[in-house]
């Protein structure tokens, strides 16, 4: 995918307003750090990334339609980066099945003018959130071939995500959300119980629990099919900037924040890293950050 440079990305920036609501990537509300006045909505980052990825024109209309159907700030976006390529995941939460637009059926209906949603798992699955991936190929294919269903965990049972295709459903990842500081005694053994990473080198944990990101509210430990992941939730814009630079995001995305960090100062962000060892070196096959739309 060719990434576009910043000069091609002059989309007008959307300002925060008095009716904005603030949610983390699990759609849990939080109190903004600063007033909304003279600040920017988090969705600007999504639009900028879509522009950098060259898919703004294709993906903005269906995403605006979702936003209109679900309500402002009620859709979570994830921007993902593998070091070369941007891709996206859109998450819709409705654990209590209150909003007909947030059901599998409702989402498929909203997206119909742009995408055909092929998987149709049974609506009665007790999922609390459904997501789908977007990238340039989805945009050109005009079909959504996979949905991700997230089921809440409980004591002794991690949250799980399942990949649903037209042909069936299979387990994808497991997740555990823990208080970053109060539950560190659980986080450490969970992280270290890994088939992919050997924690024998004492410095290795710091490549996963990255100190700059550890100052967060919640840590999610994810066990995936082919690697491990960790998510840091409730970080400030300074930490987001660190994260974007640390993992080499396209400069047009970094610049949007770096040129006006104060404009995003009212928000908390969530970020995630997938990691694996390549010989002795920690690699990050995919990283991501999240906001609401």
């Amino acid at each position: 995918m060719a990434l576009l440079d910043a000069s091609a990305l002059l989309t007008p920036l959307l300002e925060s307003g008095p009716d904005d609501r603030y949610f983390d990537y699990c759609l849990q509300p939080y109190r903004p750090r600063r007033s909304w006045r003279a600040r920017l909505r988090p969705e600007n980052l999504l639009w900028r990334s879509l522009a950098v990825g060259g898919v703004l024109e294709h993906l903005r209309p269906p995403l605006l339609a979702l936003q209109a159907a679900l309500g402002k700030d009620m859709t979570v976006w994830g921007i993902k980066w593998d070091g070369h390529r941007l891709f996206w995941e859109i998450y819709v939460y409705d654990p209590d099945k209150e909003d007909p637009n947030a059901t599998l059926e409702g989402i498929a209906r909203t997206l119909t003018p742009w995408f055909e949603v092929l998987p149709r798992p049974r609506e009665s699955i007790p999922y609390q959130m459904v997501s789908f991936d977007l990238d340039a190929s989805v945009a050109s294919r005009r079909t959504i071939d996979e949905l991700n269903l997230y089921l809440t965990g409980g004591p002794g049972h991690a949250g799980r995500s399942y990949k649903a295709r037209a042909t069936g459903v299979e387990l994808e990842n497991t997740y555990r959300f823990l208080d970053a500081k109060r539950e560190i005694d659980q986080i450490l053994p969970l992280l270290k119980a890994s088939v992919f990473v050997d924690y024998g080198d004492p410095a290795r944990l710091s490549k996963v629990l990255i100190p700059e990101l550890y100052a967060c509210r919640t840590i999610c430990v994810a066990k995936k099919r082919l690697r491990d992941g960790v998510y840091f939730s409730g970080i400030a814009v300074e930490q987001l900037l660190f994260f974007l630079r640390r993992f080499g995001y396209p400069s047009a995305i970094i610049d949007l924040v770096a040129r006006r960090p104060g404009a995003f100062e009212h928000l908390f962000f969530d970020v995630g890293i997938d990691y694996a060892l390549d010989g002795d070196v920690m690699t990050y096959p995919k990283t991501s950050f999240y906001g609401t739309l």
Binding site: S35, I184, D201, A203, L205, S206, Y214, A215, I235, A236
Partner: protein, 447 residues
């Protein structure tokens, strides 16, 4: 969440350090203001006068400490000391110095006569080879030791400081041997903080497996000699029997605000578990990145109080060499803002804590308590309410008497609102001096 903890707290809010300027005749390999020397100017005389005048009014600070660069090289130092002494508002005037210029007894005497009563002198090696290698200036060891000897002869309050790095970590207790004939009141050991060399390309950050036993050895010797020991940036739990020597506090500082952009941040995985995490910073990020979190080595002391994410750092007052911390100062003008609230509500005003950033009033009613917190007026920050000078909020609600605490808060807010004359100064910045303290970069160099 990013908080002041892990950036630059705990701060001693009754001690003020002023960076006079950034010139230096040594070039210590670990100098944390080296980058600052290129980028920042010192504090101007106007700024100093303003800070001193403010202290004459507010009496927030007991001590003023002048530092650099190497402060004894600055011609304006005597003017600055005179300004501070003339105000009569500081109990102590301290110099932080490499001691080399004090090899000149006449200068040492002049400083003493000008009113400098405390001397915090760096000595990073036990011998000339080690010290001069670190300072990159042959002869610096001999000069510093002569300076220390002169100060001892003058009978001033003498403290030494040794920055711990890979170049001297094995010799810390020998530094004690070198210094002890001069009977300092205190010896401090500050573990090296990388400001601009995160990756430690200079290989100066020593692992705790080496630092901790060497520091303990030095502290053991110091204790036998009856000298006070102080250690910064080595986790408290690694000091063993010498935990009382741990002190990560720094004074409030007047310095270019940008200095703190590069200041290392700290973390400890056991912050929520450990009783001492308010006062102990843990490990700095570059350390964690290089050597790991030390999760097996650190030994948190189980908490007796529930963990609350710190909003501001712990309140710390003024240093008193050889005698522990000084008692907190009283602040009548600030106390007057809530005078009457406690008795009206059958409560007790048990603390008035004035820092540069906040003024907090701790009200207690039986087993219940609440803190009412004033910060600088800021319409963009969340607040319970605002008065001309302040944003007001409350925190640390504890105990069962919630209704009573609510009425205390309501009363305090109303009373402060009626009495705030406007213009009462609080400032959330750490460095206090803004962009005007940045040096103009040579033209052609990108910003």
């Amino acid at each position: 969440m990013l908080t002041h903890k892990g950036r630059f707290d705990p701060t001693r809010f009754e001690d003020l350090t002023v960076t006079v300027d950034f010139h230096c005749h040594s070039a210590c390999r670990f100098c944390i203001v080296q980058e600052g020397m290129n980028l920042f100017k010192g504090v101007s005389e106007d700024k100093l006068r303003a800070a001193v005048a403010d202290n004459a009014r507010s009496r927030r600070y007991r001590r003023i400490c002048f530092t650099g660069g190497e402060v004894t090289l600055e011609r304006k130092l005597f003017d600055y000391v005179a300004i501070a002494r003339a105000s009569g508002s500081f109990e102590h005037v301290r110099l932080q110095t490499n001691g080399r210029m004090l090899a000149d007894m006449a200068l040492a005497r002049r400083l003493l006569n000008a009113g400098v009563d405390e001397y915090f002198v760096s000595l990073h090696g036990h011998d000339a080879a080690t010290q001069d290698n670190i300072s990159q200036r042959p002869g610096s060891f001999d000069e510093a030791v002569r300076g220390i000897a002169n100060l001892a002869e003058l009978g001033v309050c003498l403290m030494t400081n040794t920055v711990i790095c890979t170049l001297n970590v094995e010799h810390l207790s020998r530094v004690v041997d070198t210094v002890q004939p001069f009977r300092p009141v205190r010896m401090e050991f500050w573990n090296y903080l990388p400001m601009e060399d995160y990756a430690d390309e200079r290989d100066l950050v020593a692992p705790m497996s080496k630092v901790a036993p060497e520091v303990r050895r030095a502290l053991g010797k110091i204790r036998e000699l009856g000298i006070e020991g102080r250690v910064k940036y080595v986790p408290r739990c690694l000091l063993g029997d010498f935990a009382e020597a741990h002190d990560d506090s720094q004074p409030d500082v007047v310095i270019a605000e940008k200095f703190y952009d590069a200041y290392p941040q700290f973390a400890c995985l056991y912050e929520a578990k450990c009783e001492h995490s308010d006062t102990c910073l843990g490990l700095h990020h570059p350390y964690v990145t290089k050597f790991g979190w030390e999760e097996g080595r650190l030994q948190p002391t189980p908490r007796t109080r529930p963990f609350v994410e710190p909003e501001d750092g712990l309140w710390v007052g003024s240093d008193r060499p050889g005698e522990g911390m000084a008692d907190a100062l009283d602040h009548p003008a600030w106390r007057a803002l809530v005078e009457g609230v406690a008795p009206r509500n059958e409560a007790r005003l048990s603390a008035v804590r004035l820092t540069r950033r906040t003024c907090s009033f701790l009200f207690e009613h039986g087993d219940s308590s609440v803190e009412v917190v004033l910060s600088a007026r800021d319409d963009g920050a969340p607040a319970l309410t605002r008065t001309p000078s302040f944003n007001i909020h409350y925190r640390s609600v504890a105990g069962p008497a919630r209704e009573k605490l609510a009425s205390i808060v309501r009363d305090a807010v109303k009373t402060i609102g009626e009495r705030d004359p406007g213009g009462m100064v609080l400032d959330r910045r750490k460095g206090l001096v803004g962009d005007e303290a940045a040096r103009r970069r040579p033209s052609g160099r990108a910003d």
